[in-house]
């Protein structure tokens, strides 16, 4: 049961795919890596429903015997007042009070339970998209006194992820971009400016998009027809300040785009606080593909350690 919902806590599975034809966006965890590790450490299926906790502040009262794990952003985690470690599974029992403080490094934490939360799928997914009122519990973020359904399940063995294998959340990031969409219509000088400047993450950043602030990029396109927007697309509106479109973006839009940030790096961006610095680096689609496979094989090869 939810005692305190925190600033923004959402039920998420990997996301909703194949429903763009109805205008439904993807949803899903902003940091797919940290989310994947939460389920993996508990031996859950990769698509099991877990909680995405933005900036912390969540507390829960446990009603069953199960195990939990918290991954992603660093934040204080306490069970009945005792600090426990992140990236490590812990048994919990009825009456236990699980309390997450506020994030100290990174911004998105993931809390998973053994077996996952039992949330009915809506259009094939439990992912909560508040703007669409779809997924999760009644399409909304967690509220005080919400009941999170899950089955009782005890683990034979607790696991943790070695320090070296955990992602490091920093205050700056280089975001790798596959140039695409209208990129050829940007003047070479503007393209160069985009890839050589530093941008600041503004506080007008959310699950739809991260708005950046820095040197304005001029586009020669005054008006264009609305078209499909993929995950990570970098939109350049009239004021020239880039917006990186994330999981809850609208599926179509009419602003010019210079390319798309690869998924590995939107995860890094999602963990940055407002005020953090980023820069963009162009990479080929082939290299992006290789990076995806390297990360995937590293994830598959890395074994959780026994406690």
């Amino acid at each position: 049961m939810v005692k305190q919902p925190g600033l923004l806590t959402l039920i998420q599975d990997r996301g909703r795919f194949g429903a763009h034809n109805l205008g439904l966006t993807n949803g899903g965890p902003l940091d797919a890596q940290a989310f994947a590790w939460a389920n993996r450490l508990l031996g859950n299926s990769a698509n099991a429903s877990a909680l995405e906790i933005s900036f912390g502040g969540l507390s829960l009262e446990c009603g069953i015997d199960t195990a939990i794990v918290v991954t992603g952003a660093e934040l204080p985690i306490k069970v009945n007042g005792e600090t426990i470690a992140g990236w490590q599974t812990h048994p919990v029992k009825p009456g236990d009070f699980i309390e997450l403080g506020y994030t100290t490094r990174g911004t998105r934490a993931y809390l998973a339970v053994a077996g996952g939360f039992a949330i009915p799928a809506s259009f094939g997914s439990s992912a909560t998209v508040v703007r669409e009122k779809i997924g999760g519990l009644n399409g909304d973020k967690l509220q005080e006194n919400d009941q999170l359904p899950c089955a009782s399940q005890t683990l034979q063995q607790n696991y943790y992820l070695a320090d070296d294998d955990r992602p490091q959340y920093a205050e700056r990031a280089i975001l790798r971009v596959v140039p695409g969409y209208q990129q050829s219509t940007f003047d070479p000088v503007e393209r160069h400016r985009f890839f050589s400047s530093q941008y600041r993450v503004t506080d007008r950043s959310d699950r739809m998009g991260f708005r950046l602030e820095g040197k304005a990029i001029k586009s020669d396109i005054n008006s264009m027809l609305s078209e499909g927007i993929c995950h990570g697309a970098v939109q350049i509106p009239a004021d020239g300040q880039p917006i990186v479109l994330m999981n809850d973006r609208q599926t179509i839009g009419g602003y010019p785009k210079i390319g798309s940030v690869i998924a590995l790096d939107t995860a890094k961006l999602a963990q940055l606080n407002p005020g953090s610095t980023i820069s963009f680096e162009p990479i080929s689609a082939e290299y992006a593909h290789n990076l995806h496979w390297l990360a995937k094989s590293r994830f598959d090869r890395t074994q959780p350690l026994k406690c």
Binding site: G23, I134, G228, C230, I252, E286
Partner: protein
């Protein structure tokens, strides 16, 4: 027609510079073919006015393979092969009570409110794109005499079912939301119902007609004022 990279797992096909019924039909054919021929790697398709975004499964292929399959699917797409678009009729209660911007549109076009209703319900529209919100279908194109720019200040609340015009586009709001389009009536048909299968009465490529109905009929069809 040209194919560009959109992202690490997405390609976008540009069919033309401008939207038209012919381009829309071509996109519709492409959607049908891609759905059947690329099923093994396809994740999502986003058809729009003159483009089609194709999102594929990066775990199953790279962009070379996706491009190859896309090229196959798009071969000879210019033919006049029939498209499946259905004709869907949506009832609309047009009135000053349900369409607060009818008079403004009439004034703009120097025509009467009845003319606005007659022109809007006399046209046949094509579903060019679905987006902005679940179930929001962009329909085009309305007669120039009833075209009207978006409101300078969007409304905080547009009711579900509101039939609206922005420039030469028209749409039915699928849910209550903020909105800047001009409101001319209310449609009792749910444009998006997550509990229903299918959840939308229309899809991209369909043709839409609006049928003027009276207040009583609107209420009996489940409309709310």
């Amino acid at each position: 027609m040209r194919v560009e990279i959109a992202g690490q797992d997405a390609l976008i096909v540009y069919f033309a510079e401008q939207a038209s019924a012919a381009v829309s039909a071509q996109i519709q054919r492409a959607v049908t073919r891609i759905n059947s021929q690329m099923a093994g790697i396809l994740v999502d398709l986003v058809p729009s006015y003159a483009s089609l975004l194709v999102i594929y499964n990066i775990d199953q292929c790279d962009h070379f393979e996706a491009r190859r399959q896309l090229g196959e699917a798009l071969r000879d797409i210019d033919t006049t092969e029939a498209v499946g678009g259905e004709l869907v009729t949506l009832p609309v209660y047009y009135s000053l009570e349900s369409g607060p911007d009818l008079e403004i549109i009439a004034e703009r076009g120097k025509i009467s409110v009845d003319d606005v209703i007659e022109i809007h319900s006399g046209g046949e529209y094509r579903v060019y794109a679905i987006g902005f919100a679940p179930g929001f279908a962009y329909l085009g194109e309305v007669d120039e005499r009833i075209a009207a720019p978006r409101l300078a200040t969007p409304r905080q609340k547009v009711p579900r079912g509101a039939v609206a015009i922005a420039d030469r586009q028209t749409a039915v709001y699928p849910a209550q939301s903020p909105g800047g389009w001009n409101l001319i009536g209310l449609c009792p048909t749910r444009m998006f119902d997550p509990e229903k299968q299918p959840s939308m009465p229309v899809q991209v490529g369909d043709r839409i007609r609006f049928e003027a109905i009276e207040r009583d009929k609107f209420l009996s069809l489940g409309g709310e004022l």
